[in-house]
Amino acid sequence: MSFLKRKSLFVMLIGIILMVVLIGYSLTNKDKFSTPEKLVKDSVGWVQGIAYKPVDFIVDSISNLQNLKMTYDENQVLREKITEYKTLALENRELEKENGELRKALELNESKRDYDSINATVIARSPERWLEQITIDRGKKHGIEENMAVITAEGMIGKVQKSSHLTSSVQLLTGFDNLNRISAIVKREKGADTFGLIERYDQDTESLVFRVIEDSKQELKEGEKVFSSNLGGSYPADILIGEIKEVVQDQYGLTKTALIKPAANVYDLNNVIVVDRSLLTSLEIEKDEAESKTLEDEETEEAIDEDEEL
């Protein structure tokens, strides 16, 4: 018996050491999958893709039945809205055309708003709720890289944490910590915009924490919309993140923080869009980093000059 006990203790110790080594390994390689991981993840992802379809069908048909009740009222409202949208769409097309022409005149080829989008389907959600991860059925093969923004029609939902060959894991906004900051902006029709950083997700208040880094002398108000800005590098500009729920002073009374309610519902996800800031892939950056930088600077300077002249 004592021998048995000693043996199980020995095994347990080896287990603890193995666990520490594995955790250490996975924490140091936070943004890349190792080859065996990729292999497992892709093969399980293939089965998940198959298993998800019937479940999705059942869930969808149940929610469809629930929606059926409200369809008539919604239809009335939507019909009214469509007429408004028609004129808006026409206006939008005109403006887009004009914008394009003006850009051509200025020889500005890139826009901070441009992005390539890849459609993906959610195939699994991590049962470990503290991590708030989902798996999507698109990977490196389809052009997905780490740190791309993931959105739905409603707004931003997260970013690509790691991508394998055929699948990728997406970190949802509700699981964002200090390592995943988003540079954001509060846009206003009148007055200056306010820049800031989305620092983390706060579990207690169920909202994102937005810290103002540049005071525009204009108070943040409840209900103002927060968008991503192009200053962060990896995310394209003007993706809706959420709405200000509450404005609070920070600990020392020096800066303002706002609590933001995410625009998209991260609990009801089926189809998502992975967006990539086009023309800014890592390869191209390596290729003509210096060149494009100087060019961009010149272009923006020119643009500013011309603006001032106008």
């Binding site: 287990g15 080594v21 955790i23 996975s26 924490l27 399980v44 479940v55 195939i123 959600r125 709720r129």
Partner: protein, 174 residues
């Protein structure tokens, strides 16, 4: 052959854990309560519970392998579920020697193994700073809902596993 079927079933459970949260109505998921499906663990504990042979270390190895798979597929932090599932299967093996073979004892074993696994998981996640939840909040927000949800799963699969085992042992006698 037996091992092949067991592996297939466990793999199926691994995949279905990923869609388990989709099946629950949104109103339950949106609450502050966290439900974590530990179906693999429950299934292995039940099989270990019914197994008369003394080769319980086989199931501990199964738990370690599939725990590692859960880590790879769902959490991206290797080793945590692997260790937690291994330990809790070990605990259930110790309990099996004392307890009788009926549903209440099965539920008790299931609850204790979930508590063990959850303690290891939340402990390790707190150490590596994935979460910092006060343990009392953790108890009410995560542990109790998780236990309830998984015990319901255990009660559902208990007759099925029992039937399979009785059939299997009858065949062995004949």
């Amino acid at each position: 052959m037996k091992h092949f079927i067991l592996t297939i079933i466990l793999f199926g459970l691994l995949v279905s854990e990923g869609v388990a949260l989709e099946l629950l109505p949104e109103s339950i998921i949106n609450l502050s309560n966290i439900i974590v499906p530990h179906w693999l663990l429950i299934f292995l504990v039940l099989i270990n519970f019914f197994n008369d042979g003394d080769k319980s270390y086989v199931f501990i190895i199964y738990a370690i392998i599939f725990g590692l798979l859960v880590d790879i597929v769902y959490t991206d932090i290797l080793g945590v579920y692997m260790f937690a599932y291994g330990i809790s299967l070990f605990v259930s093996t110790l309990l099996k020697r004392i307890l009788q073979e009926n549903i209440i004892m099965a539920i008790l074993t299931g609850i204790l193994s979930i508590i063990t696994a959850e303690a290891v998981i939340s402990g390790v996640y707190t150490i590596i700073n994935i979460t910092n939840v006060y343990w009392l909040d953790n108890l009410f927000d995560r542990l109790f809902p998780t236990i309830i949800a998984n015990v319901i799963f255990l009660i559902v699969i208990y007759p099925i596993v029992k039937y399979i085992f009785s059939k299997y042992s009858n065949e062995a006698y004949n």
